[in-house]
Symmetry: C2
Subunit: 343 residues, 2 copies
């Protein structure tokens, strides 16, 4: 028995080491909400919400203004009955990042009370995972340089952002591949292409003998038919990200046979829907990767522990904390280059 007594929101601003440019968005900082949940017994759970207006329609100001409502919603609920709290927080359909941080606080308190490691709560499957590192949109020249630096620093999974200029994107990929032999590429168009442009992109890459491990969200998130079209014509696996927020989104994607992969993010789905998507994907033979928004090490911790515990992901794109300026590292995991290890 651990009843929730008080929940506090704290706004935190983190600067990007370098402005982060993806299709349709350039960010110089990430504004997150740190959630502090306290029980009557004085157990404190920490969580982080990293809202995304672009993906979820969330605004930090609006989420901050929900602090009282959230306290009314959850005060006196028993964290041992964690699925009841999941059910209540599942109603936060317009603020999924808040749902994620709150649900993580609950899991974290449950684990503290019972002396369980959070990764064991999720199943204890993996001892370590390997994250990629991401190259934002930039000049062809700068992107190649960054790819080389990433590989030199020990990362072999490289995520490349594309989607604003097809010719540049193709040239970038061909030249990056030439300079980073042996690397694995995840390419993310963030909805920037039409279905036909997406096929032109993958076909050019394929003809050059280069392999893409996952091709993320080539088209507009509501264009499920377009996604399906690309999926069935692309030589590389196609993933939904912006199209795959809730468990219901993923159910429809699977039913429509629209994707090979889903990129799960706690900030889109919370923990409850993430666990559901994991089960559905395995049942349907769909593969998974896990990604992030602009989380600090506090928020990446949430995804890292879930990914370690469930062991459900082929690829891990958990690098936002590596792109942000933080006073000190606060993750509940060990980072050694691309390797994220159980503490």
């Amino acid at each position: 028995m651990a009843k929730i007594k008080r929940i506090k929101f704290e706004k935190k601003v983190y600067e990007y080491l370098k402005p982060f440019h993806i299709t349709g968005s350039i960010a110089s900082s990430s504004t997150n909400i740190e959630i502090i949940m306290e029980t009557g017994e004085g157990i404190i759970g920490y969580g982080e919400a990293s809202p995304s207006f672009r993906v979820n329609g969330e605004k930090v100001e609006a989420l901050m203004a929900m602090e009282n409502f959230i306290n009314e919603m959850l005060t006196d609920m028993d964290t041992n009955r964690y699925k009841s709290i999941f059910d209540v927080t599942d109603k936060l359909i317009a603020s999924p990042s808040l749902k994620a941080g709150l649900q993580f606080c609950v899991v974290s308190i449950f684990c503290m009370e019972h002396g369980i490691k959070v990764n064991d709560f999720f199943g204890g499957v993996k001892e370590y995972i390997e994250t990629d590192k991401t190259i934002g949109i930039d000049s062809v020249q700068n992107r190649i340089k960054e790819a080389e630096e990433i590989m030199k620093s020990g990362f072999y999974h490289i995520k490349v952002k594309v989607g604003e200029n097809l010719a540049d994107d193709i040239e970038t990929m061909l030249r990056i591949a030439d300079r980073t032999r042996g690397a694995t590429y995840i390419v993310d168009a963030n909805m920037g292409y039409t279905p036909k442009a997406a096929l032109e992109f993958v076909n050019q890459i394929y003809r050059a003998g280069i392999e893409i491990a996952v091709f993320e969200q080539p088209v507009f998130y509501q264009d499920i038919d377009g996604l399906r079209f690309v999926r069935f014509h692309s030589p590389f696996p196609v993933a939904a990200d912006e199209s795959a927020k809730s468990r219901y989104d993923v159910f429809r994607l699977i039913k429509s046979e629209a994707v090979d992969f889903v990129n799960i993010k706690l900030m889109k789905s919370g923990i409850s829907d993430t666990l559901a998507i994991i089960e559905m994907a395995r049942s349907a033979g769909i593969r998974l990767m896990i990604g992030c928004m602009g989380e600090s090490s506090v928020g990446i911790s949430q995804s890292a522990l879930l990914a370690l515990g469930t062991g459900a992901f082929d690829f891990h794109d958990l690098d936002s904390h590596l792109m942000l300026r933080e006073e000190r590292f606060r993750g509940q995991f060990v980072q050694e280059g691309p390797i994220i290890r159980v503490l």
Copy 2:
């Protein structure tokens, strides 16, 4: 850290208070396997497998002969990494009841080590659930008498077995309904009807103004098209039972839009697939009930704690222990008539 040291199988025979007759089968006893799992630290978890040849193709002798193999498979595995053990035991595709009992032992050890109630491990959602009681196939007269007795003993959810004689079944239902006003009916044909006979049955019941809460497995388990046909023409919700064993079965049923309900049984799916089916069903808007094979109070405990914890079921058909002669009640729950309550 709790490493599995030894797993023991014990064969147990339980007599039915009255021979249990369903479509294509009459049983006078239930032969189960009690599983005793011990860790190096001396923690002992108990589980029960209640094999079904009719549903799963399992034979007790064959399962008993797997004791050494199971010890080789699981010895030295750490119960804190429970999902790794789920993954390994998921390979027991021809002995799902064994998988269920083994997975329950693991969950039970995990909970003992950390001082968690098993129902809290599963989410802690419900304080109590209500089970039905089942009337086997018998003469019309005897079935009516049994229905009256069941209701007199405090059960309001009555499960009626049909499927061997359409005219008798219709007469039975009409007369039972007349004598047990206010009861809720679950009707189970155990694959006994053709699709058209199934419709004839429900239409006659519907015309008489009687309601059926769930109509289980009207047709042969491989006849998914037939199931879908009945589902779309029946005025009452249609459930899969024999057609819905693994998570993969349920995925295909959902994709084919073949059912309104799934009857989950641990003995068909184990804990791992049960949790997956729960997540899929909710994502797809399918409803759930939970049933049993011939479990004693030890095995019913497994399903009861999962049902209490997840809170995922509209109906509970957890009554086999009430139909068997047991030396003493060994469930980890409180039974008060139809109510199964957290200990």
